[in-house]
Symmetry: C2
Subunit: 329 residues, 2 copies
Amino acid sequence: MREVAQLAGVAMSSVSRVLSGHPDVSVGMQSRVLAAVAELGYQPDLLAQSLRRQETMTIGFAVGDISNQLFAEIVASAETTLRTAGYSMLLTNSEASAELDAAHIRLLAQRRVDGIILSVGDEQNPDTLAALERLDVPVVILDRDVPMPGAVNVFSDHRRGMRQAVAHLLDLGHRDIAMINGQTLRPARERRAALEACYEERGLPPTYRFVDGTFSVEFGARAAGDLLSQEHPPTAIIAGGNQLMLGSLKVLRARGLRLGRDISFVGCDDIPVSELYDPPIAVVRRDTAAMGHSAAELMLALLAGEPVEDVTLPSEFVARASCGPVAKT
Amino acid sequence: MREVAQLAGVAMSSVSRVLSGHPDVSVGMQSRVLAAVAELGYQPDLLAQSLRRQETMTIGFAVGDISNQLFAEIVASAETTLRTAGYSMLLTNSEASAELDAAHIRLLAQRRVDGIILSVGDEQNPDTLAALERLDVPVVILDRDVPMPGAVNVFSDHRRGMRQAVAHLLDLGHRDIAMINGQTLRPARERRAALEACYEERGLPPTYRFVDGTFSVEFGARAAGDLLSQEHPPTAIIAGGNQLMLGSLKVLRARGLRLGRDISFVGCDDIPVSELYDPPIAVVRRDTAAMGHSAAELMLALLAGEPVEDVTLPSEFVARASCGPVAKT
DNA sequence: CGGATACTGAAAAACGATTTCTCGACCCGA
DNA sequence: TCGGGTCGAGAAATCGTTTTTCAGTATCCG
């Protein structure tokens, strides 16, 4: 910057004024400075700028597993929105470990990010909560019930889509429905609640079952295997999450079961395989781009000091041939 | 930091020494400082640290499309390796735009990242090359032929896997093989070269064809559609990339073609759908985790000033039922 | 011509750390 | 007891910018 000032024959303060759009600059000086900047290819050091301005123009994004299609799409969409507004994104991947969640929140704070968007792997972890508590920057939480006062939430309305899904199965005559879920997180709770509500509304006895474990392909496979090996396997399986869906499908396929005929199946998240599977798989779909975009928009609003409210985005059931009438025994 | 120094009754420089492991610290002072740090919950400002130390402990990762499964896995793996070494990752998503590529490189430079890992969408774009030229930090390039002197590369050996694939198809009697590719980038060139080499080695006339466009689901669908609508459609299609594969599959499926019987098909990248499709899809597979890990390791070595060489990771053909003997006409 | 207005320069004080320099205290051997 | 070496810690400079303050010049207006 000193060189620029020298070349343009002005004071450093003037260079700063020109570059940061201060009103008191004459066109003459402006052009001289800009010419010098262009000639030297000068680019202000964002680090020094951040230190002085006390804002980094950086948003931390702490995600559970970026290699999960769902998160990848959310991140992509959020990054676009943030970048358009001049922010960069610092990404941390916790590999579904609660300890890393907390460590990452602290790390992001230490890096003085202007805000944090996160999706934790454990809603109650005291360490994570403590780390969040100490934060003095805006926080947007993705689809989790984290007891944190200041945070703003982007929820998915899992219930709506899941109720449609269960209603569809009930209409097809299914009564013995099994739902596979991962950790006890908001999405899982919502899905369970939707299933229970559907039975109750119709005055049906609770002849469903739940299998809970982790949101992983492996557990999806194991859970599906266990269900099928029971004396009375369910007539329909709902996999709560795309990883669980992938795992379940492997097993269903290995056993030679034809979906929609031998057993009905509903997945979550409309990933490529859902549409391309034979038969196509009915899923509860949500708009990942909207989730990322909303999270970013909320963050920007918080940073601008605007009043904001939690956002709830819809989900919808996409009926496909993987659901069929219950097989007559 | 001043408060810590005050509470501990020492100078700020002593606090710094304790915290950054300087040898000249007495145990008495150390314990007093640490006690003060703990009491105040003090965490050094990484921003100020970066400014002074002239290193940010941050690596920029400029990727084409993070929502592409391939990149998502690479990023996840690289992030883990970098984080373990104490680095954070600044992620930019160029949405396959060459202009954004260049802008992002400049942005990362301005943020004073310690190094950049990137996968550009255009190997020759002069703006991008100019931006790279000006960089004075280590650069690791993912599977691209970018004419940049100092950069270190992580290549995929697409040829090996593709030659196996083509050999497999030729063995099955296919002669009219069509290959769909995206932009002219290293992976596409390698795949083409492998195909040509296979024919030539066997002394076969070049009865293959290439269709080039963009690496997108849409183009994959369009290209496959065009091929099938021709008077003499190919007896086998190779899709060069997972997005192209997804697009092609949609069309093949819509036309009711049974893979491995009516037409043979080879995809790229072993994404979930390949294994779960009916029939399972033969693919040229590569180890995404290894790619991300290698890129990160190379970066760390460069940062440590160690001598490094380009890395080439293998690919392999996974034969599956989507390839069958050529249909007798 | 007086005074308001607009611009610019120079200098200094941040921002929050690290690092160099310097100096005092202490120990040891002669 | 003194010189030299080591150890430990404070003071001050530094990283690259922004911001503030103040002063000063030039221009403009009536």
